[in-house]
Amino acid sequence: MFEYAPAPESRSVVDIADSYGLFIDGEFRAPADGDAFKTINPASEEVLAEVATAGPEDVDRAVAAARRAFPAWSALPGAERSKYLFRIARIIQERSRELAVLESLDNGKPIKETRDVDLPLVAAHFFYYAGWADKLAYAGFGPDPRPIGVAGQVIPWNFPLLMLAWKVAPALATGNTVVLKPAETTPLSALFFADVCRQAELPPGVVNIVTGAGDTGAYLVAHPDVDKVAFTGSTEVGREIARTVAGTGKRLTLELGGKAANIVFDDAPIDQAVEGIVDGIFFNQGHVCCAGSRLLVQESVADHLMDSLKRRMATLRVGDPLDKNTDVGAINSAAQLARIRELSEIGAQEGAERWSPPCELPERGFWFAPTVFTGVTQAHRIAREEIFGPVLSVLTFRTPAEAIEKANNTPYGLSAGVWTEKGSRILAVADKLRAGVIWANTFNKFDPASPFGGYKESGYGREGGRHGLEAYLA
């Protein structure tokens, strides 16, 4: 591995306050009962800020503010709503360096990724949906599409600002107002987004941000004046939300867990496939619901591919998220690190062979070396459960039918990968895979124009593209 001198991005481009209130009705305010929690930098365990915990009364206020803002916002001509969203997109582009550094600090993901993936996609998402706001009648959802009302949105910690964009942009474009709850461990970029809304002069109450943990999310989802619930997170919580919403008439979309198969056939370009496998499972520390966490390799090329994969894994740079050379950053939280460790230990106990490249991990913070398990069978827990970390399980197959059978042998159905030089095989395999996104000879590609979402227990509804409008139209 080449020695690189550190190339740290400057922290000084972002100014984090000591404490943050809740963003309700266009202003920051203290929570009703004064509760707060600390958000830390997972790479150093340093406290970044103290953030308010929204209780039932605060959620009530936020929903009331969104309700008050709804009539005027939904009555605004689409072209006007559109221009607000264009403004937001532009402000995000202008502040993208600041927001990228902030996101890396609060989440632990490498600056290379926040700078080159998260922030460009966030801006693009607002830009894309901005253009839809005055074209909804042409979207194929009837001649007079109407907004639903107040949307309660709960997002995860793996792509904090990007998940906010996926939720907020289509909701506003279609004339809904929102109350959004960011994840407990990554609240800061949503609070900075509140300032973006202020700069864009978005009318008060159209976007409200309530911070807190699971309880805050539960209040929001169960609130009787919320008309639409959108959630991205674990399948377990998704089930609970679906139960809560049952019988209320609230509209619901869920983007949940995954255990994606990344299938490599014997004719695949091995070097490209290895890049795709690495991107599939080590991108964002494997904190990706559509991560290619199950590698299915055709038996005849398995040894060759594993040699190349291990060689490539040995070049991954794990460490300081703000270093521009870093490939793999910090695990987002102590709790997540404990879960990754636990499942990895179970993998070894159940008989799979564990390997990680030699890798020096920082002393402070939450870290986990890129890890691969070989000799994994379908019965192993590491082949069935979502680990949500940089851990790859490798299984082999002999025939395409076996590959498809194994790939679909999961309650999840979010994504899958196929690697082969044979076009007809790509199309036939893609047809048979029960998953919402199929990457052929590529992996983990995202675009605001491309619908994203799962089959089976990976949830329902689509985000992105024309399809993404449906969740927010009555």
């Binding site: 049952a246 019988g247 309650p411 919402g436 124009a449 089959y455 593209g465």
Partner: protein
């Protein structure tokens, strides 16, 4: 008196009527379930009486058998060409048209029958068009070919409304796109007569399965069944039961179609929603390059 005997008997051949016009006993129909293309009795041996007919009273086991049949039939039905599925559904319309007298005898008004047949024809035509309307190429910012297409969600459990038009309006949108269905019918005679049209229309066995009986008894098993992908509650009258079924469906994150607020108007243009609610969107990416 069984409704089936309301069908006018054909005129007797000349010369056989000397001993009185009413000596010939009509042959009654036995109303059984429709599972996997066959008409079995309930495994429970139970029946209930509807208009003088003994009708099969479906059990939990029948519901599970129907799911097995629906699952087995699903890949083949979804794998049939859309053109073929469209022709098969058109054939159903032909068979219903041919059974007008029988449906009329069961109390279906002529106007409703017209609407029923026209609705089959309407949906038959969607088979090879829905993918173009709901899918297509996505202009992503990069050198990729990116395309979204709808796919059937799988096995759909349906609590059907009582009228023939209602029944057709929930079955047709489910199966036209390649799903298979387990239908809990409200009016057994109408539903089983419709099943006879399926059985004679090249609809593969298992694509539509019809259970008669009490949906409040069987629906909870289907709502919680791990091999059912979606639940259509259009025919559920009680808001409380609908909520309970929706909660049960949450265990496996089934797609749920709730009973329409304010009741369903099956005479209105159905729009795309009855079909799209039972479709998944699959998006495929592939790089472009020399």
């Amino acid at each position: 008196m069984p409704k089936s005997s309301k069908v006018a008997a054909p005129a007797q051949p000349a010369g056989t009527a000397e001993s009185g016009a009413s000596v010939r006993l009509s042959v009654r129909k036995t109303y059984k379930l429709y599972i996997g293309g066959k008409f079995p009795r309930s495994e429970s041996g139970r029946t209930f009486v509807v208009d003088g007919d003994n009708v099969a009273l479906a059990s939990r086991k029948d519901a599970r058998d129907a799911v097995v049949a629906a699952r087995a039939a699903q890949p083949g039905w979804a794998g049939a060409t859309a053109y073929n599925r469209g022709q098969v559904l058109y054939r159903v319309a032909e068979m219903v048209e041919a059974r007008r007298a029988e449906f009329a005898a069961l109390g279906v008004a002529a106007g409703e029958l017209d609407a029923v047949i026209d609705r089959w024809v309407w949906y038959a035509g969607w088979a090879d068009k829905i993918a173009q309307v709901t899918g297509g190429a996505n202009p992503v910012a990069g050198p990729f070919f990116n395309i979204s297409a709808p796919e059937p969600t799988g096995v759909v459990a349906v609590v059907a409304p009582p009228t023939l038009l209602g029944l057709v309006s929930v079955i047709a949108p489910a199966v036209v796109t390649g799903n298979t269905a387990v239908v809990l019918a409200a009016d057994p005679q109408i539903a089983i007569t419709l099943a006879e049209a399926f059985a004679t229309s090249d609809v593969p066995g298992g694509v539509v399965n019809v259970l008669t009986g009490r949906y409040a008894e069987t629906a909870p098993w289907l709502a919680a069944h791990a091999d059912v992908n979606a639940l259509d509650l259009t025919g559920v009258e009680s808001a409380e039961l609908a909520a309970e079924l929706e909660r049960a469906a949450a265990g496996t994150l089934k797609r749920v179609l709730r009973p329409p607020a304010g009741g369903a108007d099956f005479t209105a243009d159905p729009g795309l929603r009855p079909m799209t609610a039972l479709l998944e969107t699959k998006t495929v990416w592939h790089p472009k390059g020399f």
